[in-house]
């Protein structure tokens, strides 16, 4: 069976057909593995492909179906995992030389939950090294390319996961979002990307970058698939001390509720900072929600624009502490030295790439004596300012509407020499992480060069319900061809040709 036939209708359609016995999980898995192998030389979405394990998992699903047992809500659905999620016995590199060859002795909670739900993990996707970047170019294994135009970046840091879904290699993938690392690549690749409320999804087994900001979430072609995945991975986990005890809403029901009476605020301060097509898409989205019965108005939240500066002090500070564990003792690379300190320094210098070194040093500096108050403590106060300004906006709004990114996908190499320019890609996604709120990016329009444009829906903590309601209304009126899958081709200004 061709991959196109096997994948028809997305993740939930595959699961329904596998559960009924109409389609075997093995056939679906083989189709995904074939597509992945064929795409790898051009796109490089994957660091590791786990073909044998995937086929064994698929056979186990098929056996359950034959035996009349429940194979789970995502039975037979191929899923790709960002390579900063621990997988027992399977290399987990964070796209860093320092973890080369490391095989974790345990599975992340999300990996175990997906597997228990019948999903079939096919491999580990490329990312910016330790999730630090906005283009997947800081990866030690080389950049992932955008399937819409392989001369462009897929965004980052979860670029491999976004591109794999956009190219139709897998219907589902997981990423992590510390400052926009799910939503920004989702927007640049024309797929749905969802960052849940902080604490809704367990981070046990997610390699830590900035612990007060990191959260795991799904990529999919449709909102229904993304919501179904979140339903599977969400929920309390005693192995993550930041995991919320709150029960998870029935997300599929929320998706069908419509937007009649939903109060939507358009973040005016972001529109002037976005490119023509990214701002226009938000205005168009606002009109569509109003037409569907939502109560739409513009809101001014200028404080959110300070989020970027606060983030690039807080996240490196937390990273400098989290990455102290890479000392050549417990995992991965060791470069020998005469004493422990020399071994530590040689290992870290050889193992980390430039961006990781920059962030560790930035974090070390802003936490050091004499600078702590001026930088780190001030950033924490600005974090409070942002939380308060969101709270004011949500007094009379259920959700907020904003661009996901300032521009469409940029060419590979365009921003690598200027870290600050790269950081500005996260301007609209960062405030959500500082507040611990949920947000999603819906593929909504085609912009400059025929590249996809995402619209972002923001909601207050545990506002996944209203967020999905607004998202579903936008998905229903999105421009045809604004979302994947696309068949990647080399050359031409618009290399991606919709299937």
């Amino acid at each position: 069976m061709s991959e196109t036939e096997a994948f028809a209708g997305g993740a939930l359609a595959i699961a329904a057909r596998v559960r009924s016995g109409e389609l075997s999980a093995r056939v679906v898995t083989e189709a995904a593995l074939e597509e992945i192998a064929a795409s790898e030389p051009l796109l490089h979405c994957f660091n590791t492909i786990t073909a044998e394990r995937a086929l064994a998992a698929a056979d186990a699903v098929d056996a359950k179906v034959l035996a009349g047992e429940d194979p789970g809500p995502l039975a037979g659905v191929p899923v790709a995992l960002k390579d900063n999620l621990c997988t027992r016995g399977v290399p987990t590199t964070c796209s860093s030389r320092i973890l080369e060859g490391w095989r974790p002795p345990y599975d992340a909670t999300v990996v175990a939950r997906l597997s228990a739900a019948g999903a079939v993990s096919v491999g580990k996707t490329n990312l910016d090294e330790f999730a630090m970047g906005s283009s997947t170019e800081t990866s030690a294994t080389g950049p992932t390319r955008n399937p819409w135009d392989p001369a462009r970046v897929p965004g980052g840091s979860s670029g491999g996961s976004a591109a794999a879904v956009a190219a139709g290699l897998v219907p589902l993938a997981l990423g992590s979002d510390t400052g926009g690392s799910i939503r920004q690549p989702a927007a640049l690749c024309g797929v749905v990307g969802l960052k849940p409320t902080y604490g809704l999804v367990s981070r046990y087994g997610l390699v830590a970058f900035a612990s007060s900001l990191d959260q795991i979430g799904p990529f999919a072609l449709t909102l229904a698939d993304a919501a179904a995945t979140l339903q599977v991975i969400a929920g309390h986990d005693e192995r993550d001390s930041t995991s919320l005890a709150h029960p998870v809403a029935d997300l599929a029901t929320e998706l069908r509720r419509g937007v009649e009476g939903l109060r939507v605020g358009v973040v005016a301060d972001f529109l002037s900072e976005a490119s023509g097509s990214c701002a226009a898409a938000v205005r168009q989205a606002a009109d569509a929600l109003a037409d569907a019965g939502a109560l739409v108005k513009e809101v001014a939240i200028p404080e959110l624009l300070h989020g970027l500066s606060a983030y690039y002090l807080i996240a490196p500070a937390e990273a400098s502490s989290n990455l102290a564990r890479y000392d050549g003792v417990r995992y991965g690379l060791r470069v020998d030295g005469d004493d422990v300190q020399e071994m530590n320094a040689r290992t870290r210098s050889a193992g980390f790439g430039d961006e990781v070194k920059r962030r560790i040093m930035l974090g070390t500096y802003v936490l050091s004596a004499g600078y702590y108050d001026a930088y780190y403590a001030q950033a924490q106060r600005v974090r409070t300012v942002i939380l308060r300004s969101f709270a004011r906006a949500y007094e009379d709004c259920d959700v907020l509407l904003a661009p996901t990114t300032p521009s469409v996908a940029f060419p590979i190499g365009a921003k690598t020499a200027d870290p600050l320019e790269m950081y500005l890609s996260d301007l609209f996604t960062i405030p959500t992480n500082l507040a611990g709120h949920p947000a999603l990016s819906v593929p909504f329009a085609l912009g400059e060069e025929g590249l996809p444009v995402g619209v972002q829906v923001l909601a207050p903590a545990l506002g996944e319900g209203p967020m999905l309601r607004a998202g579903a209304a936008l998905e229903a009126v999105a421009a045809p061809g604004a979302r994947g899958p696309v068949r990647p081709q080399l050359g031409g200004p618009l290399a991606g040709v919709a299937r």
Partner: protein, 100 residues
């Protein structure tokens, strides 16, 4: 506005962070880190005298459990992932010098 970072300052930070940097790296990072710091300094001009700091999106409380034995990772599996192990422990270079 604060001073840009000098190469010496970057070398000091790198030592604190256990990184060894060459001359070229020191120069490059000095320029790049100074540019980032210059941008983020904008928030130093915000009046936050009355604003408390936030370290975490939600109020965290200590998570406690009964002091009971439970399953943990097998020692061999953990040591197998280490660069060097010996006698059931991580092996590291000498920490203390020879006794005088």
């Amino acid at each position: 506005m604060n001073e840009p970072l000098s190469k010496d300052a970057v070398a000091h930070i790198a030592r604190l962070a256990r990184l060894e940097l060459g001359e070229a790296e020191l120069s490059r990072f000095a320029g790049q880190l100074s540019a980032v710091l210059e941008h983020v300094e904008a928030i130093q001009r915000l009046d936050t005298a009355e604003v408390p700091p936030t370290s975490h999106p939600f109020e965290l409380v200590n998570v406690l459990r009964d002091d009971e034995r439970s399953a943990c990772l097998p020692r061999e599996a953990v040591l197998a992932a280490a660069p060097a192990a010996q006698d059931g422990r991580f092996r590291v270079p000498r920490i203390l010098g020879e006794a005088p």
